[in-house]
């Protein structure tokens, strides 16, 4: 088991590239929530279909054959029984696509659907000029399927195992105003994960890696971070942003300690 984190930064993304993607169309769409919303970094700015939960798709056409080994689908409303296919083809006719991966919808231990999907290919798939996300979700109670941010591209994986040192905290920002007897009226908010990374004795190479990542995204650009991409590609993959500054303490022998660096999930 590769015990390394992976991350997909915007500069390695292809699905939301204005220069690479020639067109992005959907099978149906609600006015006001068009397909291009999946390219917006605001994960809750969703694309919403208008009626066809039995067979809804989003189809990308690239200027040239394009490869990707990472796919992140944020803020979907699929059921756990939905059939989610990521397909590649040489033409826009996907009747018999050349490539088709099925991505299972993940649930937590209580059977509740996790509202994002992620998939990592160990080997680089064949390049195609046409890619399609195809969803069949006949059991969905809602008529309108929706998908938030979709990021796809080529992940980075540091050479050193840097899983060690991560702390995950599930935050519930719901507000409860108390009435008598400790009862209350909760205004329910979405729970999100906050990840803190702290590690000692980083090499110059690792220090360079952290610097490069932080320098690329700072505290203003969201990216995909997978802590356990091969074993738990969905449950331990997050879309979010750094919060705070990158602080590294110099140690003897060209080593560095990384002060706690926080990553907050957006969902």
């Amino acid at each position: 088991m590769a015990d390394k984190v992976r991350y997909l930064l915007p500069d390695k993304g292809v699905l939301d590239s204005a220069t690479l993607v020639v067109s992005l169309v959907a099978s149906t769409e609600s006015s006001g929530l068009p397909p291009r919303n999946v390219q917006d970094e605001h994960i809750r700015k969703v694309y919403r279909g208008s009626s066809d939960r039995l067979s809804e798709y989003l189809r990308y056409r690239f200027a040239a054959a394009t490869t990707l080994n990472t796919l992140f689908i944020g803020k979907h409303n699929f059921t756990k029984n939905a059939i989610v296919l990521w397909q590649g083809n040489t033409t826009s006719n996907f009747a018999t696509p050349a490539l088709s991966y099925q991505i299972g919808v993940a649930t937590d231990s209580r059977g509740n659907v996790i509202s994002h999907l992620a998939y990592f290919w160990s080997t680089v798939p064949t390049s195609y000029a046409h890619w399609r996300l195809h969803i069949k979700d006949s059991g969905n109670a809602t008529t309108n399927l929706e998908v938030g941010r979709i990021m796809g591209g080529r992940y980075d994986e540091p050479t050193r195992d840097i899983r060690d040192g991560f702390t995950r905290e599930l935050v519930d920002p719901s507000r409860i105003t108390k009435t008598a007897g400790q009862q209350g009226y909760p205004n329910v908010k979405r729970k999100y994960t906050q990840i803190t990374y702290r590690v000692g004795g980083m090499s110059e190479l690792m220090d360079d890696t952290m610097y490069g990542v932080y320098n690329e995204v700072g505290t203003s650009t969201p990216f995909v971070l997978a802590l356990n991409p091969e074993t738990e590609p969905i449950k331990e993959t997050y879309y979010g942003m750094f919060e705070g500054n990158l602080r590294r303490v110099h140690r003897v022998g060209a080593f560095h300690d990384l002060e706690p660096l926080t990553f907050s999930e957006k969902l």
Partner: protein
Amino acid sequence: MAFTATAAPGEYHVLVEFVLDSTTLRYADEDLSIQSSNTVGHFYEGRLSRAGTIRRQLNSVLEPRERIETWDCVLDNRDLALAQLINVCTFANRDVNVWLGQGITKGSYSNVFPAAVVHPNGITWDEDEAVITVADRRLKDRRILPLAVYTTASFANLEPRSVGVPQPIWYGDWRYNSGTQLAIPANCVNTLTQTFRVAGHKVGQIQRVLKNAVALNLTTQVSGISLSTSQFSLVGQTYNACTDIISVNGRGFVTANASTIERPAETLKHLQTYWCGVSSSAQNGTAYHTVDGQVSFSVARHIAEQDSTETYTGELLNENNIDLRFVAGQYAPRWRILDLEADRVDFYENDILHDDTEKADFRVEYDPERYYCNQVRARGAWDPVDERYTQTNTANMTTEQRVIGATVTREWDLHWLYDPDLIAERIGNEVAMYGNNPMTVNVGLGGRALMKNLADQIDLTYSILTQRPLSLRYIETNLVDMTVKTRGDDVYYLGGVGRWAGDSAVSYATAPSGDIGYWCNSVGYIVTGSPGTANRSRWY
């Protein structure tokens, strides 16, 4: 279906829409893709960094208008997106809608604050935030009445003393032997033809023309009566502007069916639509119709002094015991009576917010607005010719005067009521209502109160209060916690319930609306079996 507030936990949100000329800007307390229908949706940017509170308030019960409130809409501007929009779009006076609800379906939200962007001085921004101040949309409905004045540009031969004088507005029945039985003065708009005008609008009837209080012959001494211009000319009469007064009896505004507009609700509606430009879609027709049936007596007024419509409508409402609310973008008058018990929502201990020490957000005040009185002295039926009130009346509550050992008097000039019996009844009601030490309850409530409106009545059971009916006069909605602070007047007392009716009191069926204190049968009916009389009177 609009948002229904319940006690259940929910994902509550506030949505704000700026309806600009070429686009609608949509914001929320967090990023939301809201679904309007199966085929339409919109993204609401989560830029509302500090949602804050929206406050709504009715003025005191003696001045029952809803106050115009403002709200600072604070939007995240760290990417300078708002600065760019403010730079290129026109926000001034554009409509703003504030919605409250839960989930991602627009149908689960209700418009709680129809507003408009304040102009001037309604916008500020820096590198963190843009603050757009919005005001209750009714601000745009205010006018100074009368709108027009007499000028020589419009009337070349205008008599000098009428130059710059407002062209009066005339409501009600001013006929001889009917209505006010008073006359309305006329202005000479053409001294050469001795043409006079009595109003700045079309009138319903010119019944008599009087010169120095003596009726002229409409056939031989008056000509050219025009209801559309409210004009007429004297024939064979001398007119001295310094010594002669020309006046008329008649009727002011009339409906399309030629009936006089004189009941309070229809007069209010006409004032708003005709003079203030309020569209009928901004008026809750059912509410006006209901009040029209409840308050069916007549009012009249000759408006010759320029003042705000707020003043004129406020006096109309107060004299007729009506509250004027603004609910979901519509004016909605409401007669101030005790609602049927079935129509009042019950609130209990577990609705009341508590602080960390379990102290309830609950406070009782007695007469904070000091509207107690045990004597009302009123003047009414203004004579616009003689410029004096023609009716005076005094109502006393002698029992209260003896109890407190003092007479507390309220002077009250009535501008719309003219009938002496109605005036006597109205001030009798007033002294009965305020001859108590009225209670006001301040209470913080949970989510079930989110959709309550001003002048709604609730029944509160807490502490020493059991199903105490409160009329909400102040509502402060916390858009972060989704809780509500309220202030309610105890209408148990304000309705005068529990008092004895005099031996000579008329039966309920024939009593004028507003009378109070009738015996009920054992199941609460004043008139056995008549649903409209249930719970109108309560024994305690």
